[in-house]
Structures are given as structure tokens and as C-alpha cells.
């Protein structure tokens, strides 16, 4: 309990939740009133700084429109704009209703419960996952139509890490492909912004490739406007220029740290020999094929050979040949980037990579490759986006800028004090550390008929398959799962705003007989729910480890760190934390012991801190045990409340694990051939025709539907983009951030190139319609020079419509309304929904 004293004046350690960066904050409480939030100087993720979102969080705490008590729907009619006719009920009644529904699901078919949970990938996200397992449902990953699909798939596959980043401490040349890393967007946004500023001061060149002139583009040395969906062609062209025109590639790295030298047969598969099936390489000394890891050999990186009577060539030889299709002259008309610019950027990138150089850090000589190309949502958010994302990592590998000073690196391939390490396949290739779990096993496939709503077996090279939940709900016959969803439980997610077109989404959600949502507001999901449970504001929550080490903690912070989000004030009204409520539900339904058992495993609990299945613990007690199990009896909950952060500086091997780990990074994706077979078999068992074309050993650029579909009058592309002071839909109801957006020239507007607008008779500031085949939105036109002439730009996740969010309602434009969903518009590897479409624009008057 928090007991504010009179004349109290305290600063309290906690952790922000306004985006997934989860920065440490200090909250100033005077006489029980939260009066200020600042960055916590003791937190490696904020170092005393804080963005607009984090500081604005405090006014949101006082929002009078928050849900304060459980509400039950009394109007059986559901729809957008239909009054649910809420009836306030007690928590007791609410939990009776909910456990009754859940018990019926459990009796009938446990898989009939679908959970939507995200929690910024904090520890609570994984606790929710364990709860789902204890309940018995595999369906607990509906995060929205997009959750890094293309990025995470490509990262796990090429380097076993979840999230992309690069080393701003040493990088000298960065290409940001459709992302704003370092400009208050993306992984550990706060630290990245500071390090980006320092890097730019010391002369790092930044090239921003983006259809929209974003904040990042504003500060870049060069903004390269690109036609949406063509990033893959651009990247493959850079690779072509480097390897075929400039012969600029890191032979040492490619030969010994990747599978580039592995011999491949004409069908693309590895040439293998021997009992253990190790791939072979060509030994120039013995002039023969030998296992890749044989000692004392001189490995050929390039060339075609005959081994055992079979024609073969090195994987790198294949790559060199394949990229010849992407000459700058061929790619220029695809991307709209002039050929000489492509050639120049390739040359600059290659030169800046300083291939062959080393740098001494902490007394250790390390390869020094101070260049990186970084990708996040924008470039990948297209059909075939996985190919684009894989091409990006290929480019980083071609110059050896992989997990070494100055180059690309993901989060935490190696754990603190090597507590976890990447795995290794029999082919000697990297796989995600075991701590990340089974979600990303990209080499051994289970050819079984999918049981989960996400159809994992149909998409084996993926991390989450959220859009498949929607498709299965819309049409249960589509994949013929042996059950239907009877209860949808939404935990702090806005599935209506973060999925495609709301009219389509409303019909989807209406198909579920019972919908419960943990919401701070009567938001767009609540409008369609049967039961609303009042959720605590993050400043009222207790959460240990809001930054998950394995997923969202950038090495840029220089530390491993563990933080505590502790409540600054008591929850408003009857609001509770959703995760607490899940424990109570487990207790009421009789699977709490099993849940505890799973947490003991998940948290690696040691004696005497293991949770006893026969007991009932508060959240405080569980976190206290978890902390003491991790750090010893001195560092329990009280220590974290007092000190905020436990942190450990990273050793050099933990900052730049590349040279210190054994497994190689795949630059040639032979496992895709096996994935293709597995998918074909699974599909055939399901009696389906299935597109397996994208399972290729080598990424290609393929046009997304929008690229091909320029039929008049749908002559423009629409894309969305990020502004630095809003994140997801969670910040839209914040009145300070709304005030900022109202005063911003771009936030709530529809961006259109000045010349394009002029051609269409559209004036700056006038109302226009933007219409796709799926839907249309109205908003104020902003004529700008800072956007590609073929593109319409819409920021953020704005355009809320729920009455329960009076600040956000009607502000800005809802981009997702313009998107449809279908198998044809989903990336066939990662399931990411193509979030770019052709539109027409017209004056609204």
C-alpha cells in the first residue's frame, strides 16, 4: 500500500510505459500528488533524459474519462457507434462472469480462448504467455496486424537475435532504411538518440532512405526518397555494386564467419558428406571438398567445382551471380533512386567499412567495420518484406559489419556473464539462444497440421503470426481448425485501431461470443466487448523487468539492467493490474499451482525462492522471490524500490560477440528449402494449395501488390510514418501530446507532395478524402516538399472514434482504415500484413 504522508516530497524510481523503450523514470510526488516525471540518471536506458511521451504520462494519470469500475454490457447489439449500455458491477460479479465463461471454454476445448497481450514485451507479456499455457490455450499472441514480423524473422534467421540495432559508438556511415533509429523511434529510443547525436558530431554520415521526409531525414546528411516497397531492390543493388563492380567485400569474414564458402549443389542444397552430414567447402590446398570445420585448410570463397562427380559452387558464387540482376540501371526505375546515387552510396558504404581494419578496445584487437544498414517497420511492411529484411542483413555481412565495433548488431546474442549463448546447428550456423525459446527454431520443422490460430507450422520462419488470428476468426472454415474461439481476452491492446479496416475488424470481433477487455478507457475494443475490466495506469503498476534482456535491451546502453516499475499512486477507483487479475482467475479456476510451476521454470527460480504450488503469493511476494533468486537475498523488492536499477556493465564480448562466438551467420538460406518442403507438406495435409515461392535460398526483390496495382484512379501510394512524440495508439488520449500534435505541422494531417497536390487542385489546409479499395479517410491536406511525389503520408495510429477517449476522438487520420486483409496481402514467410496500398485523393468540399 502507498500511504502518502503530509508534507511528503519524494522522488520515486519507476519505469515508463509510453513505448517499448521502457526508460527509467523518477516520479516526483508531493503530498500524494504526482507532479513531475523526469528521466532516471541511474537508468542505462534513459540516463536522466526523457522524451515528450514519458514526461506527458503524468497528465494521463489524472484523466477523468478512465474506466473506474468493472462494466457489463447490457445491449446485445454490437457495432461501431452502438451504445453498449454499460452496467457497473462489482469485481466479484465480473470475475464470476468471466470465470464461468472461461470454465465453459476449458470444459469444451481449452483452445477456444484467444488472448491479446503485448505489454511492450515486458516480463508481464511472458507471464501472460505462461498463464495461457497453464490454462491450456496456444492462442495468446494477437498483437495487431504488425509486430515486427519481417524484422524479427530475418534477425532470428541471420543472427539469432530478436531486434535490430547498430553500434553508434563507432559507426561512421549508417543507412536507415524506412526507420528512424536514433531519432526518437525504435529500440531504446532515448539512448539511441543521444548516441546518434554524439556520432553525428564526430562525423558519422547518415543516409535516410524513406518515402517520407521524417525527423530522421531532416537531420540526415542525405535523404533518399524511395518508392514504397522497393527497398529490397535498392539493397540488392548496393550488394551488386560492392561485390561485382567494386570487389569490395570482407573475404575473411565471409569465409570463416558465414556459410558463404559452403558448397551448394545445382538444386541449391548443401553438398554434404559423411555421417554427421556436415556441409563441405572447397579446400584449395588439397583441391577437394572437405567438411567446413576441418582444420588446416585453405577455404575457397568463390568458384565452381566438381566434387564426388557432382557440379557445385560456393554459396557466395551463387550470391554474386544472383545480384547481377540488380544493376543500378535496372533498379533506378523501380526505386526512383538515380543509378549514380545508388552507385555512389555503395561506394561510400564500402569505403567506410574499412574492410580488413582492426581496432583495440579494452586491450583486445577486434575487426572494425564502422558501417551499418538498419531496418525496421517501413521497409519491411510489404508482401515479401522478409526478403527485403534478409537482403539488409546480407549487405551488413558482405562488408563484415556484423557484431563487431561500428557495425550491425542485435540485442543480446550473449547473456550477462555468458549466462546464455547462441545455439548452433549441425551446419555450424547460429540459432537464437535457448532462453528465447522454441518460437524461433528455423532449422527443424514439425510437419504437423497446425492447431493454433496462428498456424505456426504453415509459417515456420516467423516469430508471431498475429494476422492469422483475424483470418481464422473471420472465416473459421478457411483453415478448418477443429475448434472455434468462444472467448477473446484483450489485455491492454487496441485491436480495433491496430488492425486493418475497423469495419472489417468489428465484424471479426463480433463473431466471438464473449469478449472481455482490460482497458484504461472505454476504447474502440471496449465498444465491442461484453465485459470491461478497469485497468491500472502504468504509474499505478508494479512490474519487474519492463525491459526484457532477451528481446528489447539494446547493447547501446553499455549495460545489462533490471528495473522495477513501481506504483507512484494507488490505482484509480477500482482499477487493477491485469496480470494480478490473471493470477486470481487461475486461483479461482484451480490451475494456480500449475501456473506457479511454469513460472518457476520460466524465471529459473532457485531454492528457497521457488513458488510453492500449494500457496498463494501476492505479486509483490512473487517479484521479491524472483529478484532474490536472481541476485541473492540482499536484492529483493525493497532494494529495487529504493534503488531502481540493478545493472552490470557489459564486457567487450557482450558488446561485440561476433569474434567471440563459434556459430557462423548464414548469408545463404539453405534451410529455406527444407522450410519450403515442410510448408508444402503441412499445406497438403490441410488440403490446401499454398504459395511456397518465397522460401528461397537467396532473397529477391519482388513487387508488392501496391507496386503492381496502379490502376487509375488509384494512382498514389499511402504509407504511414512515426512522429517522435506519439507511440502506438496508447498515447493518443494524452491531452498534452494531443496539444503538441495540434500544434505540429504534420501530426494530424495528410501529407501530399506540393506538386502532386497542385496537379490535383488540392490546396494546403483543405479537407481531402483518401480512398483505397478497403476504405476511405478524411483529413486536412498538408502540402509538403518532404514526401515522395507518388506518396500520401499519414502519421501514427490516430483517428480514434471511441466516445470513451474524448481527447483522441476525431483527431488525426486513421491510416489502418485504408488497409484490407487477405492471404494475398500477407507476407508469405512472416505473415506481416502489407501496410502500403494504392489510393486516390480528392477534395472533400
Amino acid at each position: 500500500m502507498i500511504a502518502p504522508r503530509e508534507n511528503e516530497d519524494v522522488w520515486i524510481h519507476s519505469v515508463c510505459d509510453m513505448c517499448f523503450a521502457a526508460c527509467g523514470i523518477l516520479a516526483h510526488r508531493k503530498d500524494g500528488v504526482l507532479v513531475k516525471i523526469e528521466g532516471d540518471p541511474n537508468c542505462p536506458a534513459s540516463e536522466g533524459h526523457l522524451c515528450a511521451k514519458g514526461q506527458a504520462a503524468l497528465i494521463g494519470l489524472y484523466d477523468p474519462s478512465r474506466v473506474k469500475a468493472p462494466l457489463r454490457r447490457t445491449n446485445p447489439q454490437k457495432g461501431i457507434g452502438v451504445d453498449p449500455k454499460w452496467e457497473e458491477i462489482s469485481w466479484e460479479t465480473a470475475l464470476d462472469i468471466l470465470t464461468d465463461k472461461l470454465a465453459k471454454v476449458r470444459d469444451k476445448d481449452q483452445r477456444g480462448l484467444l488472448i491479446s497481450n503485448f505489454d511492450h514485451i515486458a516480463a508481464t507479456y511472458f507471464i501472460g504467455g505462461a498463464w495461457a499455457v497453464a490454462f491450456g490455450t496456444p492462442n495468446h499472441h494477437w498483437t495487431g496486424y504488425y509486430c515486427g514480423n519481417y524484422l524479427h524473422s530475418s534477425m532470428y534467421l541471420t543472427n539469432g537475435s530478436f531486434h535490430s540495432d547498430f553500434d553508434l559508438d563507432y559507426c561512421n556511415y549508417a543507412i536507415l532504411l524506412g526507420n528512424q533509429q536514433g531519432f526518437m523511434g525504435g529500440l531504446n529510443a532515448n539512448v539511441a538518440a543521444r548516441k546518434m547525436a554524439e556520432a553525428r558530431k564526430r562525423g558519422m554520415r547518415v543516409v535516410v532512405v524513406d518515402p517520407v521526409g521524417t525527423n530522421a531525414a531532416a537531420k540526415a546528411d542525405e535523404w533518399v526518397p524511395i518508392r514504397p516497397g522497393t527497398d529490397g531492390a535498392f539493397i540488392l543493388s548496393l550488394i551488386h555494386v560492392l561485390v561485382n563492380e567494386l570487389e569490395c567485400y570482407d573475404r575473411e569474414f565471409l569465409t570463416h564467419r558465414t556459410n558463404a564458402a559452403y558448397l551448394v549443389r545445382e538444386d541449391g542444397s548443401y553438398l554434404k558428406e559423411g555421417r554427421d552430414g556436415k556441409p563441405l567447402v572447397w579446400d584449395l590446398k588439397s583441391q577437394g571438398a572437405v567438411p567446413f570445420d576441418q582444420a588446416d585448410i585453405e577455404t575457397a570463397l568463390e568458384g565452381s567445382f566438381v566434387a564426388g562427380g557432382e557440379k557445385c559452387q560456393t554459396a557466395f558464387q551463387v550470391i554474386k551471380e544472383q545480384v547481377k540482376r540488380y544493376t543500378p540501371e535496372q533498379v533506378a526505375p523501380i526505386t526512383t533512386i538515380p543509378a549514380d546515387a545508388i552507385r555512389r552510396i555503395a561506394k561510400e558504404f564500402g569505403a567506410a567499412a574499412r574492410i580488413g581494419s582492426t581496432i583495440m578496445i579494452d586491450g583486445k584487437p577486434l575487426p572494425y567495420r564502422p558501417v551499418a544498414v538498419n531496418i525496421y517497420r517501413g521497409a519491411g511492411a510489404h508482401k515479401h518484406g522478409t526478403h527485403t529484411a534478409l537482403a539488409v542483413q546480407m549487405l551488413n555481412m558482405v562488408v563484415g559489419a556484423f557484431y563487431v565495433p561500428g557495425g550491425h548488431r542485435g540485442v543480446n546474442l550473449v547473456g550477462p556473464s555468458r549466462s546464455w549463448m547462441p545455439g548452433e546447428t549441425v551446419e555450424g550456423l547460429v540459432t537464437p539462444p535457448a532462453t528465447i525459446g522454441r518460437a524461433a527454431r528455423y532449422y527443424d520443422f514439425e510437419d504437423k497440421r497446425p492447431e493454433g490460430m496462428e498456424l505456426h507450422e504453415l509459417f515456420p520462419i516467423s516469430t508471431n503470426r498475429s494476422p492469422m488470428n483475424q483470418l481464422n476468426l473471420q472465416d473459421p472454415k478457411m483453415f478448418g481448425l477443429p475448434y472455434t474461439i468462444d472467448v477473446l481476452m484483450v489485455c491492454r491492446r487496441n485491436l480495433m485501431m491496430n488492425n486493418v479496416n475497423p469495419a472489417i475488424m468489428a465484424e471479426t470481433i463480433k463473431k466471438v461470443p464473449f469478449v472481455v477487455t482490460f482497458s484504461t478507457h472505454l476504447d474502440e475494443v471496449a465498444e465491442l466487448a461484453d465485459l470491461v475490466l478497469p485497468e491500472a495506469h502504468f504509474l499505478e503498476r508494479l512490474d519487474f523487468m519492463p525491459n526484457t534482456l532477451t528481446h528489447t535491451m539494446s547493447p547501446a546502453t553499455g549495460h545489462f539492467y533490471w528495473g522495477l516499475r513501481q506504483p507512484i499512486v494507488e490505482p484509480r477507483g477500482q482499477a487493477r493490474r491485469w496480470i494480478d487479475v490473471l493470477f486470481e482467475i487461475a486461483e479461482r479456476m484451480g490451475f494456480l499451482g500449475e501456473f506457479y510451476g511454469l513460472l518457476n521454470v520460466k524465471w529459473g527460480m532457485k531454492e528457497p525462492y521457488k513458488l510453492d504450488p500449494a500457496k498463494r503469493y501476492t505479486m509483490e511476494e512473487m517479484y521479491d522471490r524472483w529478484m532474490k533468486s536472481l541476485f541473492g537475498p540482499e536484492r529483493g523488492l525493497d532494494w529495487f524500490k529504493e534503488n531502481g536499477y540493478h545493472k552490470v556493465a557489459r564486457a567487450i564480448e557482450e558488446k561485440y560477440p561476433g569474434p567471440f562466438i563459434k556459430p557462423r551467420f548464414p548469408i545463404y538460406f539453405e534451410n529455406m528449402l527444407r522450410a519450403k518442403k515442410s510448408v508444402a507438406k503441412v499445406a497438403s495435409e490441410m488440403g490446401r494449395e499454398w504459395d511456397t515461392e518465397d522460401y528461397q535460398v537467396f532473397p529477391e526483390w519482388k513487387p508488392c501488390p501496391a507496386y503492381k496495382d496502379g490502376t487509375p484512379p488509384y494512382d498514389l501510394y499511402v504509407v504511414n510514418f512515426k512522429i517522435p512524440f506519439h507511440a502506438l495508439s496508447v498515447t493518443t488520449q494524452n491531452p498534452w501530446l494531443d496539444d503538441l500534435a495540434e500544434h505540429n505541422p504534420y501530426a494530424y494531417k495528410i501529407l501530399i507532395n506540393t506538386e502532386t497536390g497542385g496537379r490535383k487542385g488540392i490546396k494546403d489546409g483543405e479537407e481531402i478524402w483518401v480512398e483505397s479499395v478497403a476504405g476511405k479517410v478524411k483529413g486536412e491536406a498538408k502540402l509538403t516538399e518532404c514526401i515522395h511525389p507518388e506518396v500520401v503520408g499519414i502519421a501514427g495510429v490516430f483517428g480514434s472514434w471511441a466516445k470513451g477517449k474524448p481527447v483522441a476522438k476525431g483527431k488525426g487520420v486513421h491510416f489502418n482504415t485504408l488497409l484490407p486483409i487477405s492471404l494475398e496481402r500477407i507476407d508469405p514467410v512472416s505473415t506481416g500484413v502489407d501496410s502500403c496500398i494504392r489510393v486516390k485523393v480528392s477534395r472533400a468540399a
Binding site: V35, H49, L58, L61, A193, G213, A218, P735, H743, N744
Partner: protein
Amino acid sequence: MARYGMVIDLNTCIGCNACTMACKAEHATPKGIFWAKVLEKEVGKFPAARRIFLPVLCNHCKNPICQEVCPTGATYKREDGIVLIDYDMCIGCRSCMEACPYGPRAFYESDGAYYPGERTAYEKSQQDFSEGVVMKCNFCVERVDQGLDPACVVTCVTECRVFGDLDDPQSEVARLVADKKARPLLPEKGLEPSVFYVGS
């Protein structure tokens, strides 16, 4: 006596508005009023176009014209150069807003609460002004008097702001002004601002 000033590096500012919000949170400014803000404009034609950012606040001029024109003496300058408004003396005539060429001042007419109805507990506890006054950046005088930097300086995620004593040649602000040819806005007005900019 010190003369407080600020140097802002325009190369480093990314237009994220962390400063804008730090100021709002520090002073609980009314709805629609920002003492610190980031102005934006576009320069050039596509594709050689870009947005540029200009963080602005009160310049705390050495020769504050606002003080000169204030009929009641509400606007005054401390010995350390910080220009302040005494809300009790301000009659809301807005002569200062007319006179100041920089536009950092705002007239708080009414209805500044962020949520309809009663002000929040936060606003009640933090707002020391009433309706009908002119307000502006006070260089976070409440922090400066405790030896702290202004809120916008502390929060800036790129550390593009430096605050200190312009009269102390050893201070970073004084060195930046001396070394990097830092310039104020509209120097031709002769008001001698204490806020300088470097970079572009």
C-alpha cells in the same frame, strides 16, 4: 553577479519536442500554451528538401523591451539576467507581447485545464498563475535557484542545450559563445538575448 544564458546546438536538435513537454510538465502551463516550443519549417524543393527545427523560448534579453513597455512593472529582470513576470502585478494589457519581436509570450485568457470540468490535482497543486495574465519561460528560476539546470536542458535526449553563466569565461556557455560564433535571434533588434544558437 552571474548572467544566465543558454546555447542550443541546431545541428543536434532532432525536433522531438522533449523540451516542449518538459517545460509544460515543470510549469503546468495551460492548455494551448507552450513556453518552450520547437518551430519547424521546410527548406528547398523535393528531393533536395528538408525540415528544419528551431527550439525557441524567452531570450531573457539583457535589454528587455518587455520590461521597458510594461506599465505596471510586472515584468522585471533579476540581477542574474532572468526576466520574470510578477503575476500579481500583471494586468494582462499585453504591451509586452506587442513589443517583443520573438513571440515567446502568451496571454492566458481562461479555460486552461486539460480536461473538462475541475482542474486535476496536479494542476491545482502546480499552477501559481490565474486567468488574465501574460506568461512566458522563466528559465526554470525555481530550479536555477536550487543549482539545477532548466527542465528543457536536463531532459533533452540529444543534449543539445547548455545552460550557464555567460559572464563566467570558464563556463561552457561562455566558451561556446566565444568559440563557435554562437549567434542570437534577430541581433539587429539590439535587445542582446541570452539565448544563443550554434549550428544550423
